[in-house]
């Protein structure tokens, strides 16, 4: 793979997205902002599903925990400092992922899928049923965190354009960070675990620790996305932790082709676009969405990302004859 060759389309895509606020339309700025947040979320899950081979079906928990953390940690009538609530929220998600990881990583396969789902559901009920979360109505974040450092304010998150670029910058940083992590010895071990965990164990790696590290890191980055979501929209509901969210983000990763960070971003765009388009055509959009999903599994193993390869193979096959 030539890294430079694939760099140009990525930069072009980045430049196009960066131009969105120039439209001046709040609607587009908000909706693309949301997609960017979901793209960060999808990349964090891809670290588990695509690179480590851990199919987590409860990733929305970490998204939701950090989102609730901002709303709960922020004072009611004034803005909290970004430099305090951001690390605190992400830290809480990481902590939750670490503790849950200690349990769920003892299991494998179907068990792992079900147990991650069950723990996410537990987190859902904690925010839904206890006074902590404000019930099924959720909680408002009345004042967006302030970025001020000793009176100097580098950017203002209440400004929608500033917020948009803040999210975009975080996305780029997360991408670069994960790309770097995957090149590191740690990332190499994760990929090794995906292809054959027993082999990694016989090579002397304590795979449990690596998996726990990956699970915690994915939880933290999922939390980062949840934090941005809460700040972007100014309210949180228990639905952020629901298993439908976990399912949706899994779909994004699969649509984009697993084990491909840029793919996860593309998957998030494809998923949200599909949802918007189907919702435009009919209020029964779930039917179309469900139909597309079933058809993709039955007729396109490998997801949308496998389509170019299939066409290529079909063409080459034709030439060979």
């Amino acid at each position: 793979m030539n890294a430079n060759a694939s760099l140009i389309p990525k930069l072009v895509a980045l430049a196009i997205v960066a131009c969105v606020p120039l439209s001046g339309e709040s609607f587009y700025i908000e909706i693309v902002g949301k997609v960017l947040v979901m793209a960060i979320f999808a990349m964090s899950l891809d670290l588990l599903v695509g690179f480590t081979g851990l199919v987590s079906f409860g990733h929305a928990a970490y998204f939701g925990i950090a989102a609730y953390a901002v709303a709960i940690l922020s004072p009611e009538y004034e803005a909290a400092s970004l430099w305090y609530v951001l690390p605190a929220s992400v830290g809480l998600s990481a902590l939750a992922a670490f503790v849950i990881g200690l349990f769920v990583l003892r299991t494998k396969g179907i068990y792992f899928i079900m147990v991650t789902l069950a723990f996410a559901q537990m987190a859902y009920f904690i925010f839904h049923d206890t006074p902590l979360g404000g019930g099924s109505d959720g909680k408002y974040l009345n004042n967006k965190p302030s970025a001020s450092i000793f009176g100097w304010e580098p950017f203002d998150l209440t400004n929608e354009v500033h917020m948009f670029y803040f999210v975009l910058a975080v996305l780029v940083l997360v991408y670069l960070f994960l790309a770097r992590v995957l090149q590191s010895p740690f990332g190499r071990v994760l990929v090794g675990i995906k292809s054959n965990e027993h082999r990694m164990q016989s090579l002397g790696y304590l795979t449990f620790r690596y998996k726990l590290g990956a699970f915690t890191l994915a939880g933290a980055l999922g939390g980062l996305a949840g934090f941005l979501y809460a700040v972007l929209f100014g309210f949180v509901t228990p639905e952020l932790l629901s298993w439908h969210e976990s399912g949706n983000v899994l779909l994004m990763v699969i649509l984009g082709g697993m084990g491909n960070l840029a793919g996860a971003i593309a998957g998030a765009f494809a998923f949200e676009a599909m949802r918007e388009i189907f919702a435009d055509i009919t209020k029964y959009w779930q039917l179309l969405m469900g139909g597309v999903i079933v058809a993709v599994v039955l007729f396109l193993p490998g997801g949308l990302a496998g389509v170019p390869g299939r066409i290529k193979r079909a063409l080459q096959g034709g030439e060979a004859k």
């Binding site: 599903v49 179907i110 789902l117 069950a118 537990m122 009920f125 779930q286 039917l287 079933v294």
Partner: protein
């Protein structure tokens, strides 16, 4: 807690646990024998409940609705296995998750199209619509007792079929070693179809029985699905008896959790699961 309310909660726990067993037994068999993770299993419960509502409205009797509903559910299960699930056996779990997740969206939307999004009640059959007086103020509804009795009868019947019949022998063999069963010349695909249809019918029956108590409402399957997952995890994948024990544990934990620690009631069941996982990561009764 005085004795009468303790008795009522115990009976409620049993009834809830046994009802969950109907859903979870099908789920665990499909996991164990076919190696398929089926997120749409909760939808079968939802479909059963709506079948009970629609058929009871049409015929005027829940008993008649159940008699008509079970063959429908069996046929629906066999059809789904033939049309969709039979293509999933050799795929990885992720694709199974994806397809069955898509099915949930389709089933819920079809439910919304055909019956609407309102909450509906289903009448208890007249001959069961009574209660047993326990003390001057407390009584226990006969219908809930009837559910427990039906579930116990079904559990015994299931035990008989699995342990004592030729079909059950083939199911157990399929649970242990798929390849060997095929090599012996047994039509494994037929067994898959039977087991899947049976699982769908059991889940649908649970929904039909529960309809008068819980009423029927959108997304009613998703909670049951996740609780059934917890039961399968606690009981051990593929173990029907593990599912029975786990379903009763969950029934008691949930019911008494609601009485003793109402604020944390949603969480109690998951705490039980976490403890079991620490103690036995493969479930109480491992597959076999």
């Amino acid at each position: 807690m005085d004795f009468a309310s303790f008795l009522i909660q115990t009976l409620n726990s049993l009834q809830y646990g046994l009802l969950l067993f109907l859903v979870a037994s099908g789920l665990t068999l499909v996991f164990g024998i076919m190696g398929i993770i089926n997120l749409a299993h909760g939808s079968f419960y939802m479909i059963g409940a709506y079948l009970a509502f629609v058929l009871t409205s049409a015929t005027g009797s829940l008993v008649l609705a159940i008699v008509l509903g079970i063959p429908l559910a069996l046929a629906f299960g066999a059809f789904l296995e033939w049309a969709l699930f039979s293509h999933l056996y050799k795929r990885d779990h992720l694709e199974q998750v994806l397809l069955t997740y898509g099915l949930i969206l389709i089933f819920e939307q079809l439910r919304s199209l055909l019956v609407g999004d309102d909450v509906h009640g289903v009448a208890i059959p007249a001959f069961l619509d009574a209660s047993i007086q326990l003390t001057e103020v407390m009584s226990y509804p006969v219908y809930r007792l009837a559910i427990s009795v039906i579930c116990i009868v079904l559990a015994v019947a299931l035990y008989y079929v699995i342990q004592r019949t030729r079909l059950g022998m083939m199911i157990r063999a399929g649970n242990d070693d798929r390849g060997m069963v095929e090599a012996l010349g047994i039509n494994i695909n037929m067994i898959y179809r039977v087991v899947f249809a049976l699982g769908v019918a059991l889940a649908a029956l649970a929904g039909m029985l529960a309809a008068p108590i819980s009423s029927v409402f959108p997304n009613m399957g998703s909670h049951v699905l996740i609780i059934s997952f917890v039961i399968v995890v606690i009981g051990g994948i593929g173990s029907v008896w593990g599912a029975l024990v786990a379903a009763l544990i969950v029934g008691f934990a949930d019911t008494f959790g609601k009485v003793l620690v109402p604020e944390l009631s949603g969480i109690v069941v998951y705490v039980v699961m976490a403890v079991v996982l620490l103690w036995r990561p493969e479930g109480i009764l491992k597959k076999g």
